[in-house]
């Protein structure tokens, strides 16, 4: 958790910068921007750090509030699947954009 949160302090600033660079642009310009390697790599790095951070954070929330053993087990699985899905969908989209 501490490793990802320290990484995210830096990557969040990069994320904000990338989003700012997309503001007010039309579809073609957004696509063009997301073909450059730098914003795509920064976004991918940010999202990967995010989903790991999300998984760990939700895990401690589940550990604190879900006490029923089976429910806890399923919650942890759902947490893992949710974070993995977000990561896969985002990285897939980024690759598709940058390699198009």
């Amino acid at each position: 958790m501490r490793i990802t949160s320290s990484m995210l302090l830096v990557l969040s600033i990069a994320f904000v910068a990338v989003i700012m660079s997309l503001l007010g642009k039309d579809y073609a310009a957004v696509r063009a921007e997301l073909r450059h390697p730098l914003p795509v790599i920064l976004l991918a790095f940010f999202i990967l750090a995010c989903i790991y951070h999300m998984k760990l954070g939700m895990q401690s929330i589940i550990d604190d509030y879900v006490h029923h053993a089976h429910l806890k087990e399923w919650s942890l699985i759902a947490n893992f699947v949710f974070c993995l899905s977000i990561g896969l969908a985002s990285v897939y989209a980024l690759l598709r954009l940058s390699l198009a």
């Binding site: 302090l9 954070g57 929330i61 053993a69 969908a89 985002s90």
Partner: protein, 137 residues
């Protein structure tokens, strides 16, 4: 204060238990701690927005127009505004935790200052981001 608990595999897990909230005077530092967890959970769900946006951009103009229409609508802007605030609040809360990890900032005055800085800093950064967004679009 810990309580023994075992998970489905029978492994012991020691988790800190919350102190009795009833004996606590409501304090800003406590509210900020709760807010950090709530904004974290909100951002967890909110990451769907970013994934959705990226997939829509990559899928083509039709999907992008649909996503842009939703996000530019009044409810969409409301959700984005809430996401922005949760993001900056959680970001500053994270800085607070990193400061605490170095062993600093535990004095009562420092804790109060960090709580205020997180609260007002989050609001200020959110406002600044939206002002910039309006200037650029």
């Amino acid at each position: 204060m810990t309580r023994l608990e075992t998970d489905a595999r029978g492994t012991e897990k020691r988790r800190p238990l919350s102190p009795h909230l009833q004996v606590y005077r409501p304090m800003l530092t406590m509210a900020m701690s709760i807010a950090h967890r709530i904004t974290g959970a909100a951002l967890y769900v909110g990451m769907l927005l970013l994934a959705w946006f990226l997939v829509a951009v990559s899928a083509g103009r039709g999907a992008y127009d649909g996503a842009a229409y939703c996000l530019n609508s009044i409810p969409g802007k409301g959700v984005l505004f809430a996401f922005t605030w949760a993001f900056f609040h959680h970001f500053l809360g994270g800085i607070r935790h990193v400061i605490w990890d170095t062993g600093h900032g535990f004095e009562p005055k420092e804790r109060e200052f960090l709580a205020h800085a997180t609260l007002y800093g989050g609001i200020a950064l959110t406002a600044a981001a939206w002002v910039v967004a309006y200037l650029f679009s």
